[in-house]
């Protein structure tokens, strides 16, 4: 079933269509958020909030007419940005992965060192501009192609290509600075 058709039904608050949307897009949204945040619990909350926002928008006869994925991931980006801003303003330290035991998972698949490296990369990522973080999350967390990323970001493919290049170049520079420190 096409996204447009599901979205059309969802706009009428069709329960089946809404369930399909959640089932289909939740993993993408969660991965997007998780790519940018260390705190797994906050990620789950934010991913969930994205869908509640969608519901709220549809209920008010607003929300996306098309490009549902772009709307969801755009909303996720805004929520992540706000979360980071709020944390930064209030000096709240984010839970690191090694402290995240609230789901009862011991992360048997990865060593502490691996997780620490992941944490370091994520820290470096957050020093990029929000747009740069957005493009990398779309490309590498959700594994969207350049064309898909361009559609989601409502930019041209070339613009996305250039943005991604600048993001990676900045990331490289941050890594180098980290190692020189």
């Amino acid at each position: 079933m096409q996204s447009d058709e599901i979205l059309l039904r969802a706009r009428r608050l069709d329960m089946s269509a809404l369930a399909q949307i959640h089932d289909r897009f939740f993993p993408e949204v969660f991965r997007y958020v998780r790519y940018r945040l260390d705190d797994e619990r906050a990620c789950e909350d934010i991913a969930s909030e994205v869908f509640l926002r969608l519901l709220d928008a549809l209920h008010k006869r607003r929300g996306p007419d098309q490009n549902l994925r772009g709307w969801l991931l755009g909303t996720a980006s805004n929520l992540v940005n706000d979360h980071l801003r709020h944390r930064y303003q209030h000096g709240v330290e984010e839970l690191r992965e090694d402290e995240e035991d609230f789901f009862g998972q011991d992360h048997p698949e990865s060593s502490f060192v691996d997780r620490w490296e992941v944490h370091q990369v994520r820290q470096a990522l957050r020093q990029l501009t929000t747009e740069q973080q957005h493009v990398l999350a779309l490309r590498f967390a959700d594994e969207r192609s350049l064309e898909e990323t361009a559609a989601i970001m409502e930019k041209s493919v070339n613009a996305v290509k250039a943005l991604q290049f600048r993001a990676i170049a900045s990331l490289r520079r941050i890594f180098e600075e980290q190692f020189q420190a």
Partner: protein, 441 residues
């Protein structure tokens, strides 16, 4: 925008890496660029590796889905369509005040009680009703009020039919017959066309909500028909095989009833139920909204109901005298919880609640969230701080962690950033090679 030549070559290399090629293999194709590309592609590999490391926590999707669908049901249940209110008391009071001032005072509210659909003051009437409903918290009173408003809609419709008026209407009535193209809702003929949306499990013998246009001949051309759901919030007081008592109200539970969570006597629940013509509520969904209140008395019977058991315990405790919907009796003391049964405290979720069940800021979604400026564009608006999950609110894990744990700092400060555990020259952490997963869409 014309990208930098580096960006074009870089993207070509990146795509090859994503299909499994090694960094050296890729760079061999661009020897003149290799010096510049190597550190960039290494950084890209680290960025891709971050994506590879992500896994979705068990049950996260189910938890979110349950929250999402519960909210969807809440919205879907609204009998007034576009006249749905999720206002805070302050907003509601402000809106009422504005309307009262605008329409000329309290007398307008009184006069509006006689208003019919299509009349200027009809909006005031609906808002007044919604305000009353908003401030009515007792489940029984709330149901009575909702039913009285439904009755009001039916009477309005009859008046409109007598006056041969043609106007959009929205009413609730008992579905008596479902003939092809024409249904009977109470004594009103409702045209069902190819344009009519039919939502939910519509059955003869149950109340349905109809939205449509009243024609001069007294028929209603329906644009939407859905089962009329009522919501009961409260504590499960008694449970038998087919009948539960929630907040003093008898709820019929069927094999089709969807139960979210483990229900015990004392559990706070939200019940969405259809009303049949006999005045009995038949549960569509029952959602546990919190931990059960623990009764003090003990008993041998310990009924539990979960996803797999839609019928409840087979051992039926005696149902106390309670108020049937539509009955005249007032709630009595017997409607209170009778702690005759003790919730089982075993290895089930309810026995030892997991941390995930308690401290979620978004566990109360939807209406409670902070209103945002710029509501016209939900895509760009940012959430209010009150909705933003607070890491500080989360329970700290009790498990030990390595004593050598570095202590990272928040961006953008870098001074405290610890050194990664490896030092691969100019290009740190490029250890993961991404492999592209098949994508949909």
């Amino acid at each position: 925008m014309i990208p930098d030549p580096y960006a074009i070559v870089f993207e070509a290399c990146l795509q090859q890496l994503q299909t499994g090629a090694s960094l050296d293999q890729v760079l061999k194709q661009y020897p003149q660029w290799a010096g510049e590309l190597r550190p960039l592609l290494s950084a890209a590999q680290a960025a891709a590796g971050l994506g590879e490391s992500i896994s979705i926590p068990a049950n996260a999707q189910e938890r979110s889905r349950a929250r999402f669908m519960a909210q969807a049901r809440q919205y879907n249940r609204s009998p007034l369509g576009w006249f749905t209110f999720n206002f805070s008391p302050l907003k509601l009071a402000a809106l009422t005040l504005i309307l009262v001032i605008f329409f000329g005072g309290v007398s307008s509210v009184v006069v509006s009680a006689q208003a019919l659909p299509g009349d200027t003051l009809y909006a005031v009437k609906l808002i007044t009703e919604q305000t009353r409903l908003f401030f009515t918290k007792d489940p029984t009173d709330r149901l009575k009020l909702e039913q009285s408003f439904d009755q009001e809609r039916r009477e309005e419709l009859q008046t409109l039919i007598q006056r041969s008026r043609s106007t959009p209407v929205n009413f609730t009535g008992g579905l008596r017959a479902m003939n092809p193209g024409e249904w009977m809702v109470d004594n009103v003929r409702v045209d069902i066309t190819s344009e009519t949306q039919v939502i939910g499990n519509i059955q003869v013998g149950f109340y349905v909500e109809v939205q449509g246009v009243l024609q001069p001949d007294g028929k209603v051309t329906a644009s939407l028909v859905r089962d009329r759901e009522y919501t009961v919030y409260g504590t499960v007081q008694e449970m038998s095989a087919e009948r539960w008592i929630v907040a003093g109200i008898i709820i019929q539970v069927t094999p089709q009833t969807v139960i979210n969570g483990t229900v015990l006597p004392g559990s706070p629940v939200e019940v969405n139920a259809a009303l049949n013509l006999e005045g009995v509520l038949q549960a569509h969904t029952v959602t546990v909204t919190g931990s059960p209140l623990v009764p003090t008395a003990s008993a041998s019977a310990t009924p539990t109901v979960g996803e797999e058991d839609h019928h409840g315990p087979t051992e039926a405790p005696t149902v106390k005298e309670t108020e049937e919907l539509g009955g005249d009796k007032e709630p009595t003391a017997t409607q209170e919880i009778e702690p005759t049964q003790t919730p089982r405290s075993t290895d089930d979720d309810h026995g030892t609640p997991k941390p995930t069940g308690t401290p979620y800021p978004s566990s109360t979604p939807g209406p409670s969230k902070t209103p945002e400026p710029g509501d016209d564009d939900e895509h760009t608006r940012t959430p209010g701080p009150s909705r933003t999950p607070q890491p500080s609110e989360t329970p700290r894990p009790t498990s030990t962690r390595p004593t050598f744990t570095p202590d990272p700092t928040e961006p953008p400060e870098e001074s405290g950033t610890p050194q990664p555990s490896q030092t691969p020259g100019a290009t740190p952490t490029p250890t993961l090679t991404p492999t592209r997963k098949p994508t949909d869409n």
